[in-house]
């Protein structure tokens, strides 16, 4: 899990133009200054990194079957998808 967490945080940090150490698990993407374009770019980068498909629809992120409310929820969601799709 911690490997996935570090890799996800590295991607989010790059998108937010921050150091990984500045990202906490409770941070929201909004707090990190990631806008809607930044979000789809992060999702793309995570899909590429883990070779998975993330069920995310930018039209209605809340209705997507993928919780992006915090860094922790994203890491947890990726962990589940990696297990499911590997």
């Amino acid at each position: 899990m911690s490997d996935i967490q570090n890799r996800v945080i590295a991607i989010i940090a790059e998108q937010a133009v921050l150091e990984p150490s500045d990202i906490s698990l409770t941070s929201t993407l909004e707090e990190l200054g990631i806008d809607s374009l930044g979000l789809v770019e992060s999702i793309f980068a995570i899909e590429e990194e883990f070779d998975i498909n993330i069920p995310f629809n930018a039209n209605d992120p809340k209705e997507s079957d993928f919780d992006i409310s915090s860094v922790a929820s994203i890491v947890a969601g990726i962990g589940a998808l990696v297990k499911e799709q590997s």
């Binding site: 133009v17 374009l37 789809v40 770019e41 793309f44 590429e48």
Partner: protein
Amino acid sequence: MKRVVITGAGTINSLGHDVATTLEAMREGRCGIGPLECRDVERLQIRIGGQVRGYEPETRFNRQQLSLYDRFTQFTLIAAREAIAQSGLEFSGELAARAGVILGNSGGGMTTLDDNYRAVYEEGKNRVHPFVVPKLMNNAAASHVSMEFNLKGPSFTVSTACASSNHAMAQAFQMVHGGVTPAMVTGGSESMLCFGGVKAWEGLRVMSRDACRPFSANRNGMVQGEGAGIFVFEEYEHAKKRGAEILAEVIGYAMTSDASDIVMPSKPGAARAIAGAMQDARINPEQVGYINAHGTGTAANDKTESAAVADVFGAHADKLMMSSTKSMHGHLIGGTGAVELLACIMAVRDGVIAPTIGYEEPDPECALDIVPNEAREREVDVALSNAFAFGGLNAVLALRGV
């Protein structure tokens, strides 16, 4: 009707990364065309082009901007920054609300298309970067200019192949002329010197393998270029009141359609555009001292264009000068009229006529003074800029010194 003047100019092309360097290259008759550098160049038959060299995108844009800006958008923004800085205009309040940006472009983000087609077709990837669409759309450049400079008035992109920039600038002129807005940002850009972009042109068999030699009897086709040219068109009194430097006055234009063939040029269509621009500018043919030719270096264009000019100007055709600067910077397709307008500004402002380089043998079918190989110093009252596009869509602009 309002008088319209140019108060800012910017460019990046194979001759230089700004206006001063480009005009110096034109004065010296330098050639920006050279061996093409792009992926899979060895699979191309055509391996020359007027590429922008020594350009480092990272020094002009940050990483996030680069993820959104195709090369044609990058060129546009670089040229727009130069033009707007020179104009001294700051777009806020009422001026921002009325001023817009109209640009010409033909291919859109061709390098973005090329890279991503490769990814999905050649490499078999099933996922592309989320910004492919906002990067490749033809209006991306105009939109990014509007965002960087706060232009909130009429803004759009015109696509008429090789006449795109002239159509765009004619439209921007019309808006200032008619009083819709005191200023417009206009011009055009293109960047299609990637494998797919060159391959497509190669298919038409109109490309030269060695040089662009417009009007020369041994011409053997066109050579692609890339880059951007951007201008600030401003209402004369508005510019005068704030003491802006005026580069030239735009005095008229005309647009015509051949309504005849998708690729072959037409003498009557070209002639009507040239005559129409003079009529719109209310000038006599004798006042025209210089024409920046469409002059692509193809057999068909150059003889048709020469015949059209001879028809329109009669005896005066032998007195005026007409050069094709495509011999130096290549054919920028949708951006070409914008870079070529710089040669017209140099003619009416500085009295320097850019040459047609690479000229080797006279062609009796192109028997005009095409300013062979060396620039010339000559006072010019009015200059015209010709653009005759595939699809038979023509646009000619008229400039005068101020």
